[in-house]
């Protein structure tokens, strides 16, 4: 089925970016289904994925209302190409091993938890309402991933090595969490959005607290990757979307 064309306004783009973050990370977590190391993590990963997909659905629905072109949540999720996706590069990175999945979850949740808490004060009532639900969920994701990173970092030699490697591998994707552009600045000025730069201290403090316990160190800031917000992705997103969109692209409008 052909792709949709999104009529972008600052609000539509802003909401789609957050919806894409939630959907892509939720999809990544769902890839663990049937493969998690223990039964408890099988449930935890699926539950966290479900939270994120729930957040994505609410955000896509709102983007559709803001755009007013008749696009529903499915149109945004299933009928946009990779270049139209505006998620952070961090969330599209492949699952790797369990350590990498937990480090990725920690890096995102340590950001999303204070982000949604701050967004509860958004001048946009729908975003404030979505934020009030999402922040409770992200507090759980943060705690769960933090506990695992501590356990793995302060675990065996092997688990410590893998956790440190995951941290080093994902660190270059964290710069993008705090970027702003013209669109974001317009939303910040109008009180719809929070300035992500104001979240950086909280994010850093959380990571230092967790990594201290994990006997790991925050990596040095070096070259930071960016491009996700503008639709320039790593090679991994296209493969993810191929799986996510296959059914609706092949049998348009299929329901069950």
């Amino acid at each position: 089925m052909t792709s949709i064309r999104v009529t972008e306004t600052p609000l539509v783009t802003y909401v789609l970016r957050r919806a894409d973050d939630a959907l892509v990370l939720g999809h990544r977590l769902s890839e663990w289904c049937g493969k998690a190391p223990v039964m408890e993590e099988e449930m935890a990963l699926a539950n966290m994925g479900l939270d994120l997909i729930g957040q994505a659905r609410a955000l896509y629905t709102y983007a559709g209302e803001a755009e007013a072109q008749g696009h529903d949540e499915d149109a945004f999720a299933y009928r946009r190409d990779e270049r139209a996706y505006r998620n952070l590069l961090l969330v599209e990175q492949p699952n790797g091993d369990f350590a990498l999945t937990m480090v990725r979850q920690l890096l995102y949740a340590a950001y999303a938890d204070p982000y949604w808490r701050a967004m509860m004060g958004s001048s946009d009532p729908t975003l404030a309402a979505i934020a009030a639900k999402a922040e409770k969920e992200m507090a759980y994701h943060l705690r769960h991933s933090a506990e695992w990173v501590v356990r793995l970092g302060d675990g065996t030699e092997e688990s410590r090595r893998r956790t440190g490697r995951a941290l080093a591998q994902l660190w270059p994707f964290t710069g993008e969490l705090f970027h702003t552009d013209e669109i974001e600045r317009e939303m910040i000025m109008s009180g719809v959005a929070v300035d992500p730069a104001t979240l950086r201290d909280t994010w850093c403090r959380t990571l230092i607290e967790v990594l201290d316990r994990a006997t790991l160190k925050i990596p040095e800031d070096g070259w930071m990757q960016s491009g996700g917000r503008g639709g320039r992705h790593s090679e991994h997103l296209g493969h993810l979307l191929a799986e996510l969109q296959y059914l609706q692209r092949t049998i348009p409008g299929a329901t069950w």
């Binding site: 309402a129 639900k133 705690r143």
Partner: protein, 167 residues
Amino acid sequence: MVSQAPDSAALRDDVWRIAGAVQDPEIPVLTIADLGVLRDVRVNDAGIEVDITPTYCGCPAMTTIALEIAIALERAGLGRPTVKTVLSPAWTTDWMSDEGRAKLKDYGIAPPPKGAGRRALFGIEQVACPHCGATDTAPIAEFGSTACKALWRCNACREPFDYFKCH
């Protein structure tokens, strides 16, 4: 604004009672009124409108709950309602009724504590065992059989139990 004639107030009470009696599909001892998932009922010229709110963003039970409400009201001869999902204000475990908490405990699920604040990053909670009442308990898994529950174990009677997460 909706102006309500006396008989529409009575109808609203009926709708509230019938819709409120719909069971949670995942915890069948609780009704949606017990849970605080039923938020509002309006009766006006457009018909009957029912507001429900999800416990979690991705709660898969919402579609079933909406359908069950429609079936219950139609079966009572009240016609087809419009069931709306509202997100604000966000659902909290504080909305669960005392009756609901008692039913949960009898069913073997530890109810959420009332008025609990945000949890610390590495917070420690105390949850009483719903079977023997002992407080010497420990978490097994933060995420249980449904999005709203965690799995705990009692160190006194050695029984595992579900804990309805506070949030």
